[in-house]
Symmetry: C2
């Protein structure tokens, strides 16, 4: 058989496997949005059956044979090599883990979630510690099964961000930490403070219409997506079926608006992947850092800008005249850009958020290197929290027990959030250099140049390059925290008069 026809059969197969994965994602969406309360068990059984069928397809021996042929083939194009490389990652992950290990880990993940929820409610870290130690052990074994012995934490990071390493992150975060801690302290000390509860009583239907208008204007295509309500906002799906969720509180209209814009940023990335290549490396996202760069760029650099609000403020006032009557433009803009250190990551503003991530990264690194025992985590957390945020959690519920991630062994995920913030800022300044009048576009409700630029240089690239290479290609520079520091200093330094 010719290389060409092997390559065609091979890509057809991996696209099928990917499609099965998207079916699983749709089941997950449906579970959060639609599932009748009594159907949880049946849905878990459906997901398990689908996971079994997907695994059977992903580990099919024909795939292994095709990969061997293609890896030995010298005539492949660079794009084809990228596709083969990604498929090899997926195939190894599907075939190199012993079935007993996969089962034991899945069971542990489920136990872990419940142990975490119980421990958090009871402020009982000691009750959770053995589960966490077990998760750490599973993670390290998994890394070794896949050939990452001695670089276990790099493996955990690479799962979410292909090509990224702990050493690179450590260097970037150290620099960011150095510059960000003083900025957060200065903002915290500022006498400028948003007026609490300035925005109240926004009816849900009005919020829904407003955020739909805003996200459509930014460029989220509702002919290829939708938005619904769930407990926690998220984005799922890809290509021509991308689904966002949000939640509504009458007294927190900015929460639903900005979480929707954030998810729409993810969604526009997925909608911008090249349809013909969905499921291969040319048609999947480049990793979680790049994904977060898209959500954060739209949420922060764009949607918290003066320019965007010159366009949106009149429309917000027209839609909610009574609710906005007593709120000045400056008050509104300050509410949109509130900065206030908090103990809780998910409540954090865009400045301090990065410090929450640095804290978790540093602890994960020490856990994986053996330099920190699980039992010593709460103390280490409190110390870091003091050093980074200037706040010490009064108990573990608002400290080391606050996040769900570690309960099912999702180590190495946190750094993506902060890497995404860095990349977003770096992309932003590159875009501004190319089109200085960007905020004037926004004021007119025109976001098309920016979306077009991202489409061309980020979205349609798929996973051809890892995050670091993509950054070089698009911005002409190595990924660096200096752009994020510059952006935060410019925007918040002025606003908080520091």
């Amino acid at each position: 058989m010719s290389t060409e026809s092997v390559y065609a059969e091979f890509t057809a197969w991996i696209k099928q496997v990917h499609l099965l994965g998207t079916v699983g994602e749709l089941l997950g969406w449906d579970e959060q949005v639609n599932l009748p309360p009594g159907a949880a068990e049946q849905r878990a059984a459906q997901q398990a059956a689908l996971a079994g069928a997907t695994h059977a397809a992903a580990s099919d021996p024909r795939l292994g044979a095709w990969l061997k042929v293609l890896e030995a083939e010298a005539t492949l194009t660079a794009d084809q090599r990228a596709v083969v490389r990604q498929a090899r990652r997926d195939y190894d992950r599907a075939t190199k883990l012993p079935a007993e290990f996969v089962q034991a880990k899945a069971a542990q993940g489920s136990r872990g979630y419940h142990a975490w929820a119980r421990a958090k409610a009871a402020n009982d870290f000691a009750g959770y510690a053995p589960v966490l130690a077990q998760n750490l052990e599973f993670a390290q074994r998994e890394a070794r099964y896949l050939g990452w012995g001695g670089r276990e934490y790099d493996y955990m990071i690479d799962r979410h961000d292909p090509g990224m390493t702990a050493a690179v992150i450590a260097r970037l975060f150290a620099e960011l930490r150095r510059d960000l801690v003083p900025l957060v302290r200065a903002i915290a000390a500022s006498r400028v403070r948003p007026r609490p509860g300035a925005l109240r009583g926004f009816p849900v239907e009005g919020q829904r219409a407003f955020l739909r208008e805003v996200t459509a204007q930014l460029g989220f295509d509702y002919a290829r997506g939708r938005i619904d309500v769930s407990l926690h906002p998220f984005c799922t799906g890809t290509g021509s079926d991308v689904r966002l969720t949000t939640r509504f509180k009458e007294d927190e209209p900015l929460d639903s608006l900005f979480s929707s814009i954030h998810e729409a940023g993810h969604g526009m990335y997925e909608q911008g992947l090249p349809a013909a290549h969905l499921g291969t490396a040319l048609g999947i996202h480049a990793g979680m850092a790049v994904h977060e760069s898209q959500s954060r760029l739209w949420e922060n650099q764009v949607a918290r800008s003066r320019g965007a609000w010159r366009g949106w403020e009149p429309r917000l006032r027209a839609a909610f005249p009574a609710q906005t009557a007593g709120v000045s433009s400056d008050e509104l803009y300050l509410a949109i850009n509130e900065v206030s250190p908090t103990l809780i990551r998910v409540d954090a503003d865009e400045v301090t958020y990065n410090l929450h991530i640095i804290l978790r990264f540093e602890l994960e690194q020490r856990l994986f290197s053996g330099g920190l025992a699980v039992a010593d985590l709460p103390g280490a957390w409190r110390e870091s929290s003091q050093a980074l945020l200037g706040l010490v959690p009064p108990d573990d519920r608002v400290g080391v027990l606050q996040d769900v991630h570690w309960s099912d062994g999702s180590f190495g995920y946190f750094p993506s959030y902060c890497l995404g913030n860095m990349l977003a800022a770096q992309l932003w300044y590159r875009a501004l250099a190319l089109r200085p009048a960007l905020e004037e576009d926004f004021a007119r409700g025109d976001f098309t140049w920016l979306l077009g630029w991202l489409r061309e240089h980020v979205h349609t690239q798929g996973r051809r390059h890892d995050a670091l290479e993509l950054c070089r290609q698009v911005t002409g520079e190595e990924l660096s925290p200096k752009h994020l520091v510059r952006y935060l200093t410019e925007r918040y330094g002025k606003l908080y008069r520091i």
Copy 2:
């Protein structure tokens, strides 16, 4: 390995296959209810990938080996034998059709739909005839692949209603036809006529609340199901996740109400299947005739009864005081029980509906026996329509081209609708014999006795018995049209004063 452990492995496997089928159903539901307009192609690709994975599981050679062992095993219980029998049907269907045939038939099904839609719009039966002939040929080949050579139409019927045959149906329908044609003529000649447009301007939100209250009262469990809006009403899902759909028109409140009750009847059946056996013959429905008997019983015998409306009428009036002010109780009840022969099956009332089915069955029978050429269908349709309904379609759009079913080769499906009506009436009189005060229960809003009785004697039986045997077991009699004739005569004879 012991028989017991073979049986356990075997049932675990067929439950997985069934779960994958339910995932496909959920994708279908989502397509009708949620799918963004631009996502049709991607959804088709997801369905195809899932169908491939499901087929791989359904045709797994291990299943064939287990079946051989179990079929040779003398110690199985009757329940176990029923499970093995059904699994054999499914396994043969998954393995005995050549892959090329399955692909060709799927492509033909899709072409067929478009050819039908085009032909219907253009009133061009001649353009559709070759497709129909091809569908007929595919159906006959499929029957022969599965060992039904010489009994091809029986195969088509058996697919939907295990155990049913054309000969049985022909006998039942002939008797029904004999009694029903004069009844329909008499009603059509009656001077009693519902007032057109008596019910107008019912706001959608109010309709939604009312039908939800009614269906919940009948016994549809909204903790294990939901109702949404789609273009055509349907019911899908099983066990603890059953999904109904309806549609709303402000000037046709009875349309959404009764279609919802119909679908809720299907849904209560699915909710009543024994959860522990979902996916085996003990936990799937007994065929489409029994399924229709459940939807029709709730929709017609129950929800069009005087008793039920003694309870509901005051609530309808309270919910819609202005809309019902000028409508007397008799007018309301007559609107609920309107009978008027029409050319279009889906618009037909419960009396004439059966004649539409008899017409289609008789034509299908002649098509499969070779006694009728596809080219002669339109003429045969017009003749039958005159004989059965006393109406001749002015063109094929409202005649032979009206139904989608044949366009993808779904022959043998129509009879289930009418068999279901027969069984519903027979179940109804059996229930009344056991509890004569049934309508007094209904008037109090109490439908629990009837649901409990159906749960015990129909729902929890799964597919242990075919429709004919189930009928014997529950009613003590052979399935017969006489109960349907009696019911229609009693209800409509009185109402239309004939």
